[in-house]
């Protein structure tokens, strides 16, 4: 994985010093809250319901075990012994003191980590495929491109006061595991007819209150123009994105209002101009970064045998593990969705354990997924049973990846000052109900996503089943959506009808799954059946 050189370290250290100074000035009253807020947000620091919240960046979701240990240490030393992994592959702490924040950033910097631009109206942490470097279907490892973009976007002087936040995602396979088309810019590394690598740019996607799937803006940007083209996209947005209405300020609205073709024309014009300026890093820089992402020292001829005689282990392998590009190895997913638990939360002890296991069994590497789980990307099949036993002992052995128990949920009204309703209790009740009835397995792949407000941090538009919490005259109410998907065939969920109370929504989800079970044909997932039979049978069962 990428390691800082002295330049990278100097920049992160300078950022820590800057934020220490800014925090001091805020505490002394030299900065008002209005002046300080954008500064703290660009260091990941929010003011939430109960305290300050710190969001630490996990660039493209990749962590070393030393970094993972540091995340646990921070949870213990400065927070209340746990952290929350987010849908953008980051981690959040809920109980941070402002006066501690600069020292936390200093601690993070010792392991080449930071919270730079994890919030605010700027280019956010770059996300990527959680199986990068391990997936059998990728053209190349997408992370070097993400790292190139990370450096370009860090402290970019022109783009620190954008109309709104800006999220970029980079993948390099046909299968989209990172909701690429639901980003402000989604990049897919592709190969053209001549066999050259380039980048397909999808621009103007997003969730939030106006969900949109990003249209393809340009099929092929040569790799030696990746930064220049990105800069052109951003400059047009910075100049012409709406600033009159916060809810219409994302780039998706600009692309929608101008039309994709007109936005593309303006980008091309800016691109042609910027190409004359020499702002593109040389290919040698990309090659330098790539050297950090070479394959680990896989054992040649490692055995592909797996003893599946333990049924619990066999189920976990079936549900949580994926084929690795290297024979004898497997990708192991650690579910942070124990039934009845809080989606995405992990205790400091669990974080330490996962770090140790990564060191021992996965070449010192972990990934955070947008589904709020952890991945050990390179596990030797011969070690898998031992690994699973250690996970299971620590409460990390849930065999429920991509089932209805593997719920994405935002923190909701239990933690978030923007939320209208609680998300976590609904997730807990649904997972518990389906685990108790034993239906989770029968249902197969079913992605359920819950947001506690219209800002959609829980990706409810992209759930096969989505739930949106709203405030109805001071009472929590939940709307049901069906048919969303974040993958290759991205689609947006449709609302079924009137909302439900907390118990009602659990029953409504069960009703919807019953309609699926009664109608499904061989091999169909919930989503496939919904797409075939449409909304009507579900509506009839829910409200009829």
């Amino acid at each position: 994985m990428y390691r800082y050189d002295q330049y990278d370290q100097d920049m992160v250290d300078a950022r820590v010093a800057e934020f220490r100074d800014q925090t001091q000035r805020r505490i002394e009253g030299k900065l008002t809250e209005d002046q300080f807020k954008p500064l703290r947000l660009q260091n990941g620091l929010y003011l939430q319901l109960h305290a300050y919240m710190l969001r630490v960046a996990v660039p493209y979701g990749t962590l070393s075990s030393a970094q993972m240990h540091m995340l646990a240490d921070i949870a213990d030393k400065y927070d209340r012994g746990y952290g929350h992994f987010t849908t953008r592959q980051n981690i959040q702490y809920n109980w941070i003191k402002l006066e501690d924040a600069p020292q936390i950033l200093a601690d993070l910097a010792t392991v080449e980590m930071h919270a730079i631009q994890t919030s605010g109206n700027c280019i956010r942490n770059i996300s990527s495929d959680q199986f990068a470097g391990a997936a059998a279907d990728e053209i190349v490892d997408p992370r070097p491109y993400a790292e190139l973009l990370r450096q370009w976007s860090s402290f970019h002087p022109e783009f620190l006061a954008l109309p709104r936040k800006f999220k970029i995602c980079v993948i390099a396979s046909e299968t989209d595991r990172a909701a690429m088309k639901l980003h402000d810019i989604g990049i897919r590394i592709v190969r053209n007819d001549q066999g050259e690598l380039g980048a397909a740019f999808y621009v103007g996607g997003g969730m939030g209150r106006t969900p949109m799937i990003a249209p393809l803006l340009r099929e092929f940007v040569p790799l030696d123009q990746l930064i220049t083209y990105s800069e052109a996209c951003l400059r047009v947005y910075n100049r012409y994105g709406r600033r009159d209405n916060k809810y219409k300020a994302r780039i998706k609205i600009l692309v929608h209002e101008l039309g994709k073709d007109e936005y593309a024309r303006q980008v091309e014009e800016e691109f042609a101009h910027l190409q004359t300026l020499g702002i593109e890093p040389p290919i040698a820089e990309l090659e330098r970064i790539k050297t950090y992402f070479t394959d680990p020292a896989f054992q040649a001829g490692a055995s592909d045998d797996l003893d599946l005689s333990d049924p619990d282990f066999a189920l976990w392998v079936e549900r949580n593990c994926l084929a690795h590009k290297q024979s004898g190895y497997i990708v192991a997913n650690i579910s942070l969705k124990p039934v009845g638990g809080i989606p995405g939360d992990a205790s400091a002890a669990q974080i330490h354990l996962m770090a140790d296991l990564a060191k021992e069994y996965s070449f010192d590497e972990l990934r955070v997924t947008h589904a709020q789980n952890i991945v050990l990307p390179h596990v030797r099949k011969a070690d898998l049973y031992t690994l699973w036993q250690k996970l299971d002992e620590a409460g990390l052995g849930a065999a429920n990846l991509d089932t209805i128990e593997d719920i994405i949920a935002c923190p909701g009204l239990d933690y978030c000052s923007l939320a209208n309703a609680r998300s976590i209790p609904v997730a807990q009740k649904i997972a518990t109900r389906f685990a108790e009835t034993g239906k989770s397995g029968t249902l197969g792949e079913l992605k359920l996503k819950i947001s506690g407000c219209i800002n959609a941090c829980g990706h409810h538009h992209a759930g096969h089943i989505g739930i949106l919490g709203v405030d109805r005259k001071g009472v929590e109410n939940y709307q049901l959506l069906l048919g969303g998907c974040e993958g290759d065939d991205t689609s947006l969920g449709q609302i079924t009808g009137p909302g439900f109370d907390e118990d009602g929504i659990v029953g409504a989800v069960e009703t919807a799954t019953d309609v699926y079970l009664a109608n499904r044909k061989d091999g169909e997932r919930f989503l496939d059946t919904y797409r075939r039979i449409g909304m009507a049978p579900f509506k009839e069962a829910l409200y009829g």
Binding site: G29, L47, L49, H50, L98, L413, R422, P425, G474
Partner: protein
């Protein structure tokens, strides 16, 4: 009644205006009547509170104070999904007060 709430500038803790100072316990809050804006401006200026705002609340029969909106009740207690981290970790019924 109108009560005034905000977060402590340095720690971020949820606080309630008691008439003289800020308390982490909502039951210490006092009715600020139409003084909310003046108190908020003065206290924020003195950096004793961050982003204060006034809310509606009612005094309960047991002398407690119940904010009108669920969001402020969760702020007053703590996260309903982590009773151990609320202000009343020993009270298994505390979460019901929120809803």
């Amino acid at each position: 009644m109108k009560i005034l709430t905000g977060n402590d500038l340095k720690t971020g803790a949820v606080t309630w205006w008691t008439g003289q100072d800020w308390s982490i316990h909502v039951e210490d809050a006092v009715d600020v009547g139409d003084e909310a804006d003046a108190i908020a401006a003065r206290e924020e200026g003195a950096r004793r509170v961050n982003s204060p705002y006034a809310i509606d609340a009612v005094r309960e029969d047991n002398g407690g104070i119940r904010p009108a909106h669920i969001k402020d009740r969760i702020r007053a207690l703590g996260p309903t999904v982590r009773p151990d981290l609320t202000l009343k970790p020993a009270d298994p019924e505390a979460g019901n007060w929120v809803i």
